[in-house]
Amino acid sequence: MLPPPIADYAVIGDCRSAALISREGSIDWLCLPRFDSPSVFASILDPDRGGRFLIRPTGPSTVVRRYIEDTNVLETTFTTASGVLRTTDVMPVDSEAAKARELWPDHEILRRIECLAGEVQVQVLFAPRFEYGRIPPRIDSRRAGLFYCEHGARELSLATDMPLAAGAEQRTLAGAERLTAGGRRYFSMTYAHAMPGVLAPLGAEADRRIERSIAWWQEWAAACRYQGPYRQAVMRSALVLKLLSYSPSGAIIAAPTTSLPEKIGGVRNWDYRYCWLRDASLTLRALCDLGFEVEAESFLSWLLHATHLTWPRVRMVYGVFGESKLAERELTSLSGYQDSRRVRIGNLAAEQLQLDTYGELLESAFVWLSRGGTLDRASRSNLVELGRAVCQHWREPDDGIWERRAGRRHHTHSKVMCWLALDRLLKLHASGHLRVPEQDFSRERDALRVEIEGRGFNGRLGSYVSAFDGDEVDASLLVLPLHGYTAADSSRMRSTCDRIRECLGVDSLLFRYRESDGLPAGEGAFGICGFWETECRVLQNRRAAAGRQFEDLLGMANDLGLFAEEIDPHTHAALGNFPQALTHVGLINAALTLEQADRA
């Protein structure tokens, strides 16, 4: 049995963990208690052994899904020959004040089914598997409608008002029931770790938790300032970013999944349940410009303090609490998404050197401070230390923004981000936000520009190039004008954009590069690169082309507006981990740039 296409999934979450639900009503991915914890359901990576929680009508049906407006509450409507069934899936949320007034489970997944018309035979399968499918726990019953299973100090409970029975060896629960119009059933799965479990009531109380979650999300979404023509897509992207934020620390993870392949059957399968710094400044800009300043502040605080362990060196990826060593290992117990091996947990990229992260951090701080934000003395002093680290290391080769595993080079993008780091420090010095060794930083910044313009630009091609003295282009060069290194309509940047389109473009999409990167060839077009090109086109006064491209790209999202990391250039199928913060950050920033251009 094959898992459904990646784009067939929806995501729900509570800002500490997230679940992927297929169009067929199956929770095929869930890690608890954190995004990067071992899985409880992982049938997306192995339909036989991964574990799942399925609720759907028996027999064929047509499926329509939507998120309730401005929320992460999912509604799926199944229309069968005999009737209509609606499921509502949510990981309940509420304000901290409300949660302090009553006892809440550590985590809950609440599923409600309602027969809207006619009658529908519903089938349920509950098959939790701890530790990435390795542990099929024994499911016991405490009383009618209450089941539980344990692994070590972890306990899952399932409360339901639908009759279920344990299957062979009590490793699964299954049941079927015919619902008639107006009939409702509830499923509340709760999780506890090293503490007594908290059971959440069903019936009217469950309805109330759904309503409160809807109200919480809508209240949160109301802070969004974007009023342009793409509000729905922008709002969905903002909700995805929020869903991928880890509230206890403020980190924002790249995606809630691991090892969804960049090529079906390929080896480019990575664990993305960590926080990458490569898009930090763009994420911060998106949050600030949309009006989510608290999230922006929280994220910046995480950037500055959670990364303390490695200062003044900055790694490219960290765990949600700032863990800097994310040992990578292969899970041989899982067959992989559509047999795409390897299945990996942890990420070796954490060991790589990526000089652009300095620019990302300092640009983030610059955006924050220049919008009236404040930083304490220790943080300001740390920023200056970062500048010194840039001066010390920028002449070294690095692994580059795309984490190539083909050896270090002098990546033009990385050097530009080093330039940006020093430029932002000097600007903050000029505005009185902090004190830097002005002469030293100015000298190094100017030296960087000389190197970039001399060796990062290939006069024969008329284009900036991926690495110094090279002749290949790379889509990361599109961010040069977005960070203010050069004007988008400068002759060098215009010809670079043309060259990138010529070499890397397929319709409205862009590959990130074409060179060998040390791994077997084959990956999709990279989602965010198309949005970067849209922004460049706007800044080059090519508004109409930018608008067409943006709308083309929006058409490649799934039915819920979600993007993966990559897109198959021919079928437009989603590839790679899902949903992907980076792509949604690109969408938001492109929409904001289009809106600003229209207002201007």
Binding site: D14, C15, R16, P33, V93, S95, E96, K99, W104, D106, A194, W216, W220, K242, S245, Y246, S247, P248, S249, G250, V294, E295, E297, S298, S301, H305, A306, H308, L309, T310, W311, F321, G322, E323, D376, R377, A378, S379
Partner: protein, 160 residues
């Protein structure tokens, strides 16, 4: 209890403990800063919190020295190993019991159940303070063992 002796060696031990923790923090062995955690109980201002916290921590360490002295008096002898053992026990208690409880009493710290409201406050330390990096328990235990060893080895019993 030999008050003069415990005031002197309690102070020395506290300075040693604070220095070990600060150096470990500075060189990136851990993200824990006990003075910072203590200081932010009183003020949200990071700069002031650190100063207040260091003062608070030193007084705290000094006071704890009297408890160590009382235990040594109960043993009827002094020994660096006994002191180190008391330090080990205290560190273990702080890490295993105190740290997980901290979000419940610290006015500016969230718990691991926090969310989806964004966190503008301190991250929770978690069991054994492992959220502040996996070497945190080792550093904390080492610092307290040194603290205890100094008192245990250098304190003079009142009966001597």
């Amino acid at each position: 209890m030999n008050v003069t002796s415990i005031v002197l060696w309690g102070f020395v031990a506290t300075i040693a403990l604070t220095t070990i923790m600060a150096v470990s923090h500075g060189v990136g062995l851990t993200r824990i800063s006990i003075p910072f955690l203590l200081g932010t109980i009183i003020t949200p201002n990071r700069d002031r919190a650190l100063v207040t916290g260091v003062a608070f921590h030193i007084i705290n360490g000094w006071m704890f020295a009297f408890l160590y002295a009382a235990i040594l008096e109960a043993f009827g002898r002094t020994d660096a190993w006994i002191g180190a053992g008391i330090g080990f026990a205290q560190a273990l208690f702080v890490l295993a019991v105190g740290m997980p409880l901290l979000p419940g009493v610290h006015p500016r710290m969230v718990s691991e159940y926090y969310g989806p409201t964004p966190n503008r406050r301190l991250q929770p330390p978690g069991f054994m303070a492992l959220n502040y990096w996996r070497q945190t328990p080792i550093v904390t235990i080492a610092a307290h063992v040194v603290y205890g060893a100094i008192i245990g080895g250098l304190y003079e019993l009142a009966s001597n």
